[in-house]
């Protein structure tokens, strides 16, 4: 029996359910499932321009596994482009990051719910933006 897959932490799910090609003559030839963790890998590496090693740490997997997820994501997107397939976002082996942060100034730990846009310490007297994501 293969070893169980470790859940990949992701910060937020993609904001779309899929992408569809348009302007192609022949009808769409099927779809490709893009996993949440693959979306996250593309986002971290190519949108946030993070180094693979840092991105891997954030997702809770090894650097090599991150590279594999990223590679598979790129191949899927390329395949969808070339073969005019739809891209559908599916859950995969993802786990939502609990988003616990630590303030390096006053050592308090806290979460940042989606309703708060600023990434800084919740104490007004501190308000430090020197915060760091922790695995809790």
């Amino acid at each position: 029996m293969p070893r169980q897959r470790r859940l990949r932490k992701i910060v937020a799910p993609p904001k779309f359910q899929g992408y569809k090609p348009y302007g192609n003559n022949d009808y769409s030839t099927g779809s490709i499932d893009l996993l949440y963790e693959e979306y996250e890998a593309i986002k971290l590496a190519d949108y946030d321009m993070m180094k693979h090693i840092d991105a891997a740490k954030l997702m809770g997997v090894s650097r090599a596994t991150f590279a594999r997820i990223y590679e598979s994501a790129r191949q899927k997107i390329a395949k969808a482009f070339v073969e005019t397939k739809e891209i559908i976002a599916v859950y995969g082996n993802a786990e939502f990051d609990k988003n616990w942060y630590v303030c390096n100034n006053c050592n308090s730990r806290f979460t940042i719910p989606s309703t708060i846009n600023e990434q800084k310490c919740p104490f007004v007297s501190c308000s430090s933006d020197n915060i760091e994501l922790i695995n809790k």
Binding site: K98, S108, R109, P113, P122, S125
Partner: protein, 104 residues
């Protein structure tokens, strides 16, 4: 914006309570009016799910931030669901006063 601080007494000189669900009192601090009020935690001796019940109280009060020593798994999921910010403070001898000062 209302903030709840878990407290072991009902005055601002009281010690900060590190438990969430089983804290003695909840200190509600409103940073717009600078008013504080204390609410007794009626679920502190309940045999189970004190955290969930306390989280329900938070939702009813309409607070946006909760400061405590730690949160149990049930309370965590509940507070997360209602977009309430959780803040964990560690260290002993913290008074409610100190925290209010830091918030205003």
């Amino acid at each position: 914006m209302k903030t709840v601080i878990t407290s072991s007494g009902k005055t601002t000189d009281s010690d900060f309570d590190k438990r969430f669900g089983r804290a003695d009192f909840f200190c509600v601090f409103d940073n717009e009016t600078n008013e504080t009020s204390f609410i007794e935690n009626i679920h502190k001796d309940s045999s189970n799910a004190a955290g969930t019940k306390a989280a329900e109280v938070m939702v009813e009060l309409g607070v946006s931030k909760v400061i405590s020593g730690d949160f149990g798994p049930k309370a965590k999921t509940m507070l997360e669901k209602f977009d309430i910010q959780m803040v964990i403070i560690q260290g002993d001898g913290v008074k409610i006063n100190d925290l209010i000062k830091k918030l205003s």
